[in-house]
Assembly symmetry: C2
Homo-oligomer: 232 residues x 2
Amino acid sequence: MRSSLSHYSSCTSCMFTPFGTTEEQENLAIKQYRTLERKEVLCLPKHKFQSLYVIQHGVLKTYQAEVDGKELIRGFYFAGEILGYEAIYTGHYLFSAAALTETVVCEVPYENFLELLHSNPELQKRILYLISRQLNIGSYLVSSTAAQRLAAFLIDLSVRLHPSEIKREFILPMSRQDIGNYLRLTAETISRVFSRFQKNKIIAINHKKVYLKQPEKLKQIADGLLATPILL
Amino acid sequence: MRSSLSHYSSCTSCMFTPFGTTEEQENLAIKQYRTLERKEVLCLPKHKFQSLYVIQHGVLKTYQAEVDGKELIRGFYFAGEILGYEAIYTGHYLFSAAALTETVVCEVPYENFLELLHSNPELQKRILYLISRQLNIGSYLVSSTAAQRLAAFLIDLSVRLHPSEIKREFILPMSRQDIGNYLRLTAETISRVFSRFQKNKIIAINHKKVYLKQPEKLKQIADGLLATPILL
DNA sequence: CGCTGGATTGAGGCCGATCAACTTCAGTGG
DNA sequence: CCACTGAAGTTGATCGGCCTCAATCCAGCG
């Protein structure tokens, strides 16, 4: 059952560790962690669903292949988040997942996950909390304008990139192309809106480094307020 | 704890019934059902999250108020589905929910829900399945064209309106306005695309009554294939 | 019968896509 | 150290799909 790949090893520090003794976990082969190089692919669509993945650190993107060979990005995953819930329903993975940075994930076989949940009411509560959070992520994808979606995306990143604190300055882990793909905009539009935000002193951006100068204005844009005054 | 409204009564037939004895359920005040008239509102945003709602039959829409007083529809809910997961994360309801038809919902206080889940591994499994399903719903909202989104919406409806079987003919429970609002299109665009679909013999539509003449073509459109040949 | 709200259809404007040129950057090897 | 190269990012000009505004049609109903 346990893979023999060399980059697997036992996991000693993740959200599942506080629950159950080490021995219990070893006996059940509850989980194991795995490091991914940049661009390395984690799970493939159509493969049988077996495990959830808890991201220890790093960033992943999930995507589907489109008819014309292009990819369609469905989400980004950061440290502390869990990947794979969508597959419970269908029984097989719907997306591919690729690492955007060097990433460490903790693989938890679904059967063990269910047992763990059952034996730990606190963990069950926490997992439902995390799933609920997941349900709300990406709700801004349906915003009407490019500025709204990108503003919401930046706020989202600032919250999710660093689990403990909200930072005003951070490094974009993905390309303009990937941001555009996720927000259903082109890379050119992303670039243009970044430039507008910068010109209006809402953010400062230099390549991958972003600084949110006026997070509250970003929030207002994301919420659909200040439509014209800022955009021009 | 139990509301005194007259239209409350004990629930004898829903997905939670098979689990636990009737006596257990009564002692815990696990759940109760409630009938809603058309346009009646169920839960209000900012109110403290306390219960999940299992839809027995009928249709609900969830929506947020926008700045200009307009509403923003976040989802539709049909028989067998559960409403309220999003609120676990924030601790208060994010949306209002309004009945589109006469609707019966089963209210399950979250604390009891957690207990039920813990005491019934099978129920736990089923709930995770339902949540996973929920995560996939509405993924078509990010499709690029109006025809793609509306085609996907029709397929979605045909599956979710009747839990047991997929019907090719059904009644739209919501207005063009509501469909457009949900898909981030205008009612006019919905109307125009319906007309195009009808002209191309993909569907037959008369007011609220829809018949999917070529469901497979609808699927192709939803998937982004057949872009030009059908649209013109 | 007239009224009212939803649905349909048409004409014009705007936002983002497309296509293209140019710049910048990261990686490579001489 | 620097020239070379390909990928990523920026910026401009044009095109097209959806929105806006408006008129008309239609069904349900007092």
